[in-house]
Symmetry: C2
Subunit: 232 residues, 2 copies
C-alpha cells in the first residue's frame, strides 16, 4: 500500500549508499511515492541494510527487503570472504577494468525483482542509482544495458502487455560523483547515514581505502562539501 | 565444479515438471554438462523441489537451489494462499488470457539469476523450458521476450564484455505439449517423477483439474503415451 493516494508509486533500489539515497530523493522530487527495495544478498556485512532501513524511515517510505543469497555462488569480493577487497592509498590507483567487487549480474537480478514488485504494486517505474562515470568497469552500469533491460521488461510483464509502459529511471547515469553530491545537497538529502564502503566496520565506519571510499571522498572534495558521514 | 571436464557447462532451469525435465535431457543431448538450478520462491508446496532434486540426481548433474521469496510480494495464485488455483473439468475451459497462476516477472528473475550462476561457473549457455504454445497467456513465455532477454544479457555481463556470447536456449518454445512428450520419450527421459500440477497433495499427487494438469493430460493423450506419473 502506498502512503499517499495522490502520487503514483515507484520502486527505488536502495542500498544505503550515497547514490541510491540520492536516487530516492530524486524519485520523490519527480512526483512519485517511492517504495524502497533492498536485498540481503550475501553481503559481507549487514550495516548497509540497517542504514537503508533508517534512510527509508527518514524519507517516510515503505522498505521491502528481499532475501537473495547470491553469495552462495561466490565469484565476487563483495560476497565471497575468500576474495580480498582491494585497498589503495590514492584514488588514482583505482583500477578501471572490471573490479573483483563486481557481483555477477547483480543489477540485472535486482532490476528483475524490482519489476516483479512493481507489477504486484501497480507501479510502472523503477529507479536505480547506477552511474557510468565513476564505475565504467561494471558492464551493467552502462546506458546501453539500461536501455536493453527496459526493452526486455516491456515484453515481459502483464502490465506491458496491457499497455502500461515500464520505465527504468537511472538519473545518476551520466553524473560524476561530485555532481551526485551536489544534487543530494540541492534536494536536502541527509547523507550522514549513507555508507558507501565495501568493507566497513561492524558499526558502519568506512575503511577509507577501498575503491568506493576513495571515489566518494574525491566526489565530496570536488563538490566542495564535507562528507557528513565523517562528522558523526 | 562440473562432473565432466570434456563438456562445456550449461545452466538448466529445473522446476521438476515435464517441460524443464525434458529440457535438462536436451541440454545433455546438445553436448553440455548441465548444472540444474531451482528456486524456493514461496511456492505453496515443496514437492516440486524434492522432485527436482531427484531428477537432477537421476540425470547425474549438480543441483543448485536458490532461496528467493517472491511469495512475500503476493500477486499470484502460485505463491499467495489467498488466491485460489483455478480448477476446471475440461481442458477446453482453460482460460487463454493471463492466468492468476502467473508469477510477476518470474522468468525474468530466474533467467537473471541463471546469468549470475553461469558467469560464476564459466558457462555461457542457459536452458529454459518455456513454451509459447500451451502458455500463450504468459507474456514472458513469448519468443520475443527470450530474444530481448538475450540481447540484454549480452550487454550485462563481464563474459559478454570479454566476447563470450551468452545464449538462452528455449528448445520447447515452439513445441506443443504432445511434441514435448514425444521428445522426452525419444530421449529416454524418466517422466515418472515429474510434477506439473499447480496444486498437488503433499505427497505430490496431481489434482487433475488445474490448467497445468489438464494441459499435461491432453499432451500425453495426443502423443499416444500413458503418463508414467499416473502409474506410480
Amino acid at each position: 500500500m502506498s502512503r499517499s493516494s495522490v502520487n503514483r508509486p515507484a520502486i527505488v533500489l536502495l542500498s544505503g549508499g550515497l547514490d541510491s539515497t540520492t536516487c530516492l530523493a530524486i524519485a520523490r522530487h519527480d512526483g512519485f511515492d517511492p517504495i524502497a527495495l533492498s536485498f540481503r544478498y550475501g553481503q559481507r556485512h549487514d550495516v548497509e541494510l540497517v542504514r537503508a532501513a533508517e534512510i527509508a524511515t527518514t524519507a517516510g517510505c515503505e522498505h521491502v527487503v528481499v532475501d537473495l543469497d547470491l553469495g552462495a555462488f561466490g565469484g565476487s569480493a563483495l560476497t565471497d570472504p575468500s576474495i580480498a577487497v582491494p585497498k589503495h592509498d590514492r584514488v588514482d590507483d583505482v583500477d578501471e577494468s572490471i573490479p573483483v567487487t563486481y557481483v555477477p549480474a547483480r543489477n540485472t537480478v535486482m532490476l528483475s525483482i524490482s519489476m516483479s514488485l512493481a507489477e504486484v504494486r501497480g507501479a510502472a517505474d523503477v529507479y536505480i542509482g547506477v552511474n557510468a562515470v565513476d564505475y565504467s568497469g561494471y558492464p551493467d552500469c552502462r546506458p546501453e544495458f539500461i536501455e536493453a533491460f527496459e526493452a526486455m521488461a516491456n515484453l515481459a510483464t502483464r502490465a506491458a502487455v496491457e499497455g502500461r509502459r515500464f520505465t527504468v529511471h537511472a538519473p545518476l547515469l551520466r553524473l560524476s560523483k561530485a555532481e551526485i553530491v551536489q544534487r543530494a545537497v540541492e534536494l536536502g538529502v541527509d547523507l550522514s547515514r549513507t555508507v558507501s564502503c565495501y568493507d566497513p566496520s561492524s558499526e558502519g565506519r568506512a575503511c577509507g581505502r577501498c575503491d568506493a571510499c576513495l571515489l566518494r571522498a574525491r566526489g565530496f572534495a570536488e563538490a566542495g562539501v564535507v562528507d557528513p558521514a565523517l562528522l558523526r
